[in-house]
Symmetry: C2
Subunit: 374 residues, 2 copies
């Protein structure tokens, strides 16, 4: 981690990576600049969890690692719409969602920085992850969620001993309330805090290893705040820069048509502000984000890898939920949105193989949404 | 699998291992007799799931394997009652419980036998596992459960497309109804069918590998129908017989005091029938089994390894649920019973180390039981 820095691309500011900050003095987003390392022979010998990529994770000392042994999730071969696809089973993380990738790294870093309390806002799953890893680390935790969040997620947050703040109104009202609190308490945000993305990037490392140290051709991912799109992009870029790959995979981002600001931005390459969109209810609560703060980076990652933002209708999401259920998979509607997007993308495009998608959240997160079955 | 046989110890009958039967002609229990093999160098090279012990799993052909890539769950180091312990995180299986160990092997064997439909009865989790693996295999599935089963488990069974039969009355009424149906349809029972135990035995293999090819000193497991106790005993015995270990670990079985027939049988070494017990309500629904069919084998496994049957009170179960929650673990009350049993056993005995316990089911299986938090 020598020479690591938090940099603000917009304002040109630089800060030490050990400053407990989540934005620049100008209020703009920060990214982490540093040089990871990869040693396949060492990686191969280690336990099958995401910390096997130890030299590529920006936490200095092993004693600060806060971990349940999470990650290295199965890559499940399936057939969707008559085409072979690999589905990464990220709903099998300890708290039931891929957000644990970000939480294990961010909370480890928080422990390393000596932080005693964190605040976070979430549509549910990221809040659960931060609450559970904070509990393991002995860090006090306060989670802001929209009042409409799935009940089981609220139970998980409270059961981990976090303070739960249910905010009436939209997801953006929740974010505003949390940012206000973050003036006093360290903001463990999966949107703002770059250490979170340096956890979700392990998704790329695992694919690289599971495909015998090669990249997939196409990766189809759900996108709300884009934590998995950004992490995947960072991870593959790090592998490219370290000389282990010679091309990036195509990254396709999937949004529910009911809430698709990234799709709108993708269609307006010259826009400097995020297009305002019409909002409709969606079963995919985890990606119902009208104003993703890192929208520019997400759209850029998709565009520069040759991908698109694929939208899916509610009927397609529910269809994918039924179809995966009939395969024996138990996933939440947000995860089904990605599967629906993968089907649609494969039907309409000549995708470069191998093609990978992901299921990001467990069906037990919102069982009330799995039925009725037709 | 050459020379494999289904044998009935009670009546001395022998049948081919490829006969689709789950009991002897005399109506008695069957065990599988065969010779597994272990090749650590091959095991080490394979994907981190339970099928890495391929030569020790009684399924002939790889093409019959029905798998989501499950198993090789994390071994999480924790401190309980001031003592170091390793907790195996078996709640991270695809359907949210360790029962997937048995289901992946049993349903693979069912596919190998050309079976088109199965029936099963369960207090919930085993039914979910059999339903989901049957769905993946394209096998029709009918699950009998007590009407009082946790709602999320019922949703999982229906979502996988299985036919759900909710039976009023006790767990034993459910078992009787299923056994009647099993006169016509293959009985994929986690209690009767020995192939299920040849899946749960992979728990032992994983511990052996994760402890650098050694056995733990003591293993503390929840016990209702005893599928994990029996599987663990079979697995370590197979490793002993293959020359990889020179002693068995001590196996401690944990029961809720509210429903503890195995504890009663353990105290009456000469009993030929299962002692009748008084039944009280318990939060540990997964082990509330008044008449476990394999009770003799379970008690024998505990006794011959130098273990005991440890009972725990409801307050201790709820205490362990709170304590694990405060660690960031999200497990169901049945799983907390094992943790409570581990604490109590460690406090009252000089346990041989390393000591291992397990959390068997995810808290999202019954979130309504995780709160209120005091």
């Amino acid at each position: 981690m020598n020479g690591a820095a938090l940099v603000c691309a917009a304002a040109g500011e630089r800060y030490g990576a050990d400053e407990p900050r989540w934005r620049g003095d100008s209020g703009e987003l920060l990214d982490l600049e540093w040089t990871p390392a990869f040693f396949p022979e060492r990686i191969r010998q280690r336990s099958p969890n995401l910390w096997r990529y130890r030299e590529a994770i920006p936490v200095r000392e092993d004693r600060n690692i806060v971990s349940f042994g999470e990650g290295f999730t199965p890559l499940f071969p399936a057939t969707l719409a008559g085409q072979k696809i690999l589905i990464k089973l990220d709903h099998l993380f300890p708290t039931g969602s891929y957000k644990d990738r970000g939480a294990t790294v961010l909370i480890s870093k928080a422990r390393e920085l000596g932080i005693r309390a964190v605040v976070q806002d979430s549509s549910g799953n990221a809040g659960v992850s931060i609450a559970c890893y904070s509990a393991l680390a002995g860090i006090r935790c306060e989670i802001f969620v929209p009042a409409s969040t799935s009940p089981a997620k609220l139970v998980q947050i409270r059961h981990a001993g976090a303070t739960l703040r249910e905010i009436p109104g939209s997801r953006e009202d929740t974010a505003r309330a949390a940012r206000k609190r973050a003036e006093e308490v360290y903001y463990a945000s999966h949107c703002w805090n770059p250490f979170f993305h340096h956890g979700t990037k392990t998704f790329a490392f695992e694919l690289w290893e599971q495909l015998s140290w090669r990249a997939p051709g196409t990766i189809i991912l759900p996108a709300g705040n884009g934590t998995l799109v950004l992490g995947t992009w960072i991870g593959f870029r790090e592998l490219m820069e370290a000389g282990f790959l010679d091309r990036m995979p195509v990254i396709v981002a999937v949004q529910a048509s009911a809430c698709a600001p990234l799709a709108a931005a993708f269609l307006q390459p010259s826009a400097h502000t995020l297009p305002a969109i019409e909002l409709h209810p969606t079963a995919a609560e985890g990606i119902a984000i009208a104003e993703p703060v890192r929208w520019k980076g997400i759209v850029q990652a998709v565009r520069e890898t040759g991908g698109i933002v694929q939208t899916v209708e509610e009927a397609e999401i529910l269809g994918a939920l039924r179809e995966t259920g009939a395969m024996g998979l138990c996933i939440e509607p947000t995860a089904a949105a990605a599967v629906a997007g993968a089907k649609k993308y494969l039907a309409q495009n000549d995708a470069v193989g191998p093609v990978v998608t992901v299921v990001t959240g467990h069906g037990l997160k919102s069982p009330e949404k799995l039925l009725p079955h037709p």
